[in-house]
């Protein structure tokens, strides 16, 4: 365990202080000495621990998970979780800035990373959910909600005073928390919008972001009831400002990823960086993830200067639709091994130009700012999503698109064929569709993936336009 913590960038004095806490958390998840050995191997294999900042990112994930699991035992009076709740991390940051008696966690980037990517121990959690109402088989329930239900079924994380989700993307998460409230008595809440944008209105989003802002405001009132203090607009604005540095740091990283040849960072690290940028942190606490992101960015700049990359210069460039696998680094790693540059996943591409930032005037209402994620491709209807992705492909100058559609996520999976149709028609670049489960490592079949991706690489190269 000590060796592992060292590998993850913990200092000796930190290890002394943190070891009992971390050990308690790992043992709760059934992490054995053997798992720790495997964890070390996986970290060394799938992550570039020599790259400055990477170990610190892993370390912060472990700390974040530990803080969440021990929140009650360590005296936090109120625990609030957000699940599939874009914008919650900002509201959560406002709460953390105000009170140290509250614990706020976004479920579960850091848990997926530590328990899944590092230890490969997600499956028992998924299985626990499958013994409840999210049964396995052809129905293909989403692995993300399985993780949520499995964690409560196994009592692995403290029961919160409030569990919130949004309907910004799906009905699956709201249904899951509805049943969690009915069956486990955990208080839950929602904020919502409406998925009725027509393509003829595109890219106008005011109606749906306005509705979401009202719903978020109502949610804030509910949170006030739980925590016992007021959440003012100023507090929220301060949290937005305090997190501004994280967004800028992520944007810098993405800019280098978008243009760098060779690709300066592999997809697994991209996900790790993304985790750093989405953890709820109090105002005085954003320094740590920010420093990590800036360190990684500087290391990337250095790589670019030296021409070092995660894949060879000139490797075929690919955009992956849907986010990367959240708790299994193998597929993203394989892509790199095969010499395919996975430039980006489909996270945070905004209408109408496929940029990383929402275009146009910034809204004055802080709740409308929280609702801006509705303007990204994943929250749009099919035609608008296609339009944004096509613009992003142009901007990123990719040779092809990999749509490994997450079958449990119907709103994204349903688009697969017609997105391919739109991209092929408008850009003439190859699109590979792969049925996938973005939260379940059991979906991975190395042989099959390798074969299909090797073929895809050949197609990418042969269909490249001559310079």
């Amino acid at each position: 365990m000590i060796e592992l913590l060292k590998l993850c960038g913990f200092t000796d004095s930190e290890i002394e202080a943190q070891l009992p806490r971390v050990a308690a958390v790992f043992s709760r998840f059934g992490v054995t000495a053997e798992d720790i050995e495997r964890g070390k191997q996986r970290l060394n294999k799938y992550y570039d621990l020599e790259m400055p900042g990477v170990r610190q990112a892993v370390r912060l994930c472990i700390k974040d998970l530990t803080n969440m699991v021990l929140a009650r035992e360590e005296g936090k009076q109120k625990v609030i979780y957000g699940f599939m709740a874009p914008g919650f991390e900002i509201l959560g940051s406002a709460l953390l800035s105000k009170s140290s008696a509250v614990h706020v966690a976004s479920l579960f980037p850091s848990l997926h990373f530590v328990i899944g990517c590092v230890f490969d121990k997600i499956v028992p959690i998924l299985e626990a959910a499958e013994r409840k109402w999210l049964k396995s088989g052809k129905i293909a329930h989403c692995g993300n909600v399985k993780t949520l239900v499995g964690l409560f079924a196994l009592d692995l994380i403290p029961r919160p005073d409030l569990l919130v989700t949004s309907g910004f993307l799906c009905d699956t998460a709201p249904k899951a928390i509805d049943l969690i409230q009915e069956l486990y008595g955990i208080p839950t809440y929602y904020y919502d919008s409406c998925h009725d944008r027509e393509f003829r209105e595109y890219p106008d989003d005011i109606r749906v972001t306005g509705l979401a802002a009202k719903s978020l405001r109502r949610f804030a009132l509910k949170v006030q009831e739980v925590v016992g203090f007021e959440i003012t607009d100023d507090m929220l604005q301060e949290a937005i400002d305090a997190r501004g540095g994280l967004s800028t740091a992520m944007k810098n990283i993405h800019n280098l990823m978008d243009s760098g040849d060779p690709l300066p960072l592999s997809a697994n690290h991209d996900l790790l960086c993304h985790t750093m940028s989405t953890l709820p942190r109090g105002k005085s606490d954003t320094g740590e993830p920010l420093a990590i992101l800036n360190t990684i960015y500087e290391a990337m700049q250095d790589r670019v200067r030296k021409g070092i990359g995660a894949v060879e210069k000139g490797a075929p460039r690919v955009l992956a639709l849907n986010p990367h696998h959240m708790n299994d680094p193998r597929m993203e790693h394989l892509l790199g091994e095969l010499g395919i540059a996975l430039v980006s996943s489909e996270t945070g591409f905004f209408a109408p130009h496929g940029e990383r930032d929402p275009a146009g005037e910034k809204p004055a209402d802080p709740y409308e700012k929280l609702a801006q994620s509705l303007r990204t491709s994943l929250a749009q209807g099919l035609s608008a999503r296609a339009a944004i992705i096509i613009e992003a492909c142009r901007r990123l100058n990719v040779d092809g698109v990999l749509d490994k559609y997450h079958v449990g996520c119907r709103m994204g999976a349903a688009d697969a064929m017609l997105l391919k149709d739109a991209i092929t028609q408008q850009l003439g670049i190859p699109v590979l569709l792969m049925e996938w489960e973005g939260f379940d490592p059991r979906a991975y079949n190395e042989e099959q993936c390798r074969r299909r991706l090797e073929l895809f690489k050949d197609v990418l190269i042969s269909s490249r336009q001559p310079e």
């Binding site: 509805d178 929602y190 409406c194 027509e198 709103m411």
Partner: protein, 391 residues
């Protein structure tokens, strides 16, 4: 005379047979045909008041369209939605091809995709009707009422007719009459044995998707009066069952047929295309658009995609169990309908606590599962019979 010998019902059959031709003839005279997807969130009243002819597109039950849709959506999308995509591709069902406009309600995450796919192809006028899934806030009601205003504007532009309050009031009266009659007929099924079978009732309800509403209301009226003096269609000892689930599409009669063949009697259907539609009337006074908004979004029993809906539907189902003297529940869900599938666990658990046996069935529109379904249904009905004998 049996129900099926009723002249009005054979007239209804003839009417339905001629309906596509009638609609085409109307279109030639400039009348518009407006299709909409089911689920109870599209007020037909507004379509009707615009002078357009509303048609509910809810065909299902056969595998061809479902398979045809696989070129456009993967098989994790539910067969009912795939049918709505596949019918558009196959062009064999006349209604899907003839509509001048589609109103696509933003309901469950599968069905909203059907609207998006129709929109993607761009060959039909589409209106996406936003249905806030969080329906317990004043701002949600306002939002939906505003979308109804836009729907009205779009229909006025399509038809060239103004939708006056007077026309809207008349349409509400007409549809309230239909809902009221369906409700009355449904309530007759509390009798033991009921005077109309589930299959007959469901098909009658499905006829309303296509029929001229004035004509249909008159047919229903005759049926209702006929049934009041009607003899039973089943044996009194048939176990009385409640059907729960997402939907039974027009044409999806496999499970209803198997239950009847096994000697079970479904006496009520708590589905999108069942009780949820006709249980409440729309208030026909004051601000009618708001009244429609309230009636459709809030007063109705919510579908599973509405937040916090499971408990409400569970409580209502328990009430139906009492009121209709039900001794068992058939939960029929469509394969890949993950939201209802998740709920089935909760319902089964709660029904167990209330000592109401529940059978969960799931099927696509294929035929391969008929044998297995039959065995399970027969065993379930047998189990209820035995429990009844022991009482």
């Amino acid at each position: 005379m049996t129900l099926m010998e009723l002249r009005e019902l054979s007239d209804l059959d003839t009417h339905l047979g001629n309906r596509p031709a009638q609609l085409r003839a109307a279109q030639r005279k400039g009348v518009k045909v407006v299709g909409f997807f089911p689920g109870n969130y599209v007020p037909e009243e507004i379509i009707y008041a615009s002078g357009a002819l509303p048609i509910c597109l809810a065909r299902g039950g056969s595998p061809e369209p479902v398979d045809a849709a696989l070129t456009e959506v993967p098989d994790v999308i539910c067969p009912f939605v795939r049918a709505q995509v596949g019918e558009r591709l196959l062009k064999t069902n006349p209604y899907y091809g003839m509509i001048d406009m589609l109103v696509a309600p933003i309901t469950c995450q599968h069905l909203k995709k059907a609207g998006e796919i129709w929109e993607y192809h761009g060959d039909k006028e589409i209106f996406k009707l936003g249905v806030p899934h969080q329906n317990d806030a004043e701002f949600s009601l306002e939002y939906y009422a505003d979308r109804l205003r836009v729907m009205k504007d779009r229909l006025e532009a399509l038809t060239g007719n103004e939708i006056t309050d007077e026309k809207l009031g008349e349409a509400i009266t007409l549809y309230n009459r239909i809902r009221g009659l369906l409700r009355e007929v449904s309530l007759l099924r509390r009798a033991a044995p009921p005077p109309i079978s589930s299959l007959e009732f469901v098909k009658l309800n499905h006829a309303s998707f296509y029929a001229d509403p004035v004509f249909f209301a008159d047919v229903l009226d005759s049926v209702y009066h006929e049934l009041q003096g009607e003899k039973a269609v089943t044996k009194a000892e048939a176990p009385r069952l409640l059907l729960l689930g997402p939907n039974v599409a027009d044409g999806d009669y496999k499970v209803l047929g198997l239950v009847a063949a096994a000697g079970g009697e479904i006496v009520a259907e708590e589905l999108c295309e069942g009780i949820r539609y006709y249980w409440h009337d729309i208030e026909n006074e004051g601000d009618l658009r708001r009244s429609l908004a309230r009636g459709y979004l809030i007063d109705r029993l919510p579908c599973a995609f509405i937040r916090r809906s499971a408990k409400k539907r569970l409580d209502f189902a328990l009430k139906l169990v009492q009121d209709f003297d039900v001794s068992g529940i058939i939960w029929y869900e469509i394969l890949q309908c993950e939201v209802y599938n998740a709920e089935s666990y909760f319902f089964a658990q709660r029904m167990r606590e209330h000592n109401v046996p529940m059978l969960i069935l799931e099927s696509d529109y294929g035929t391969a599962d008929v044998g297995q379904l039959r065995t399970r249904i027969e065993a379930f009905i047998e189990q209820i019979r035995k429990a009844g004998d022991n009482d």
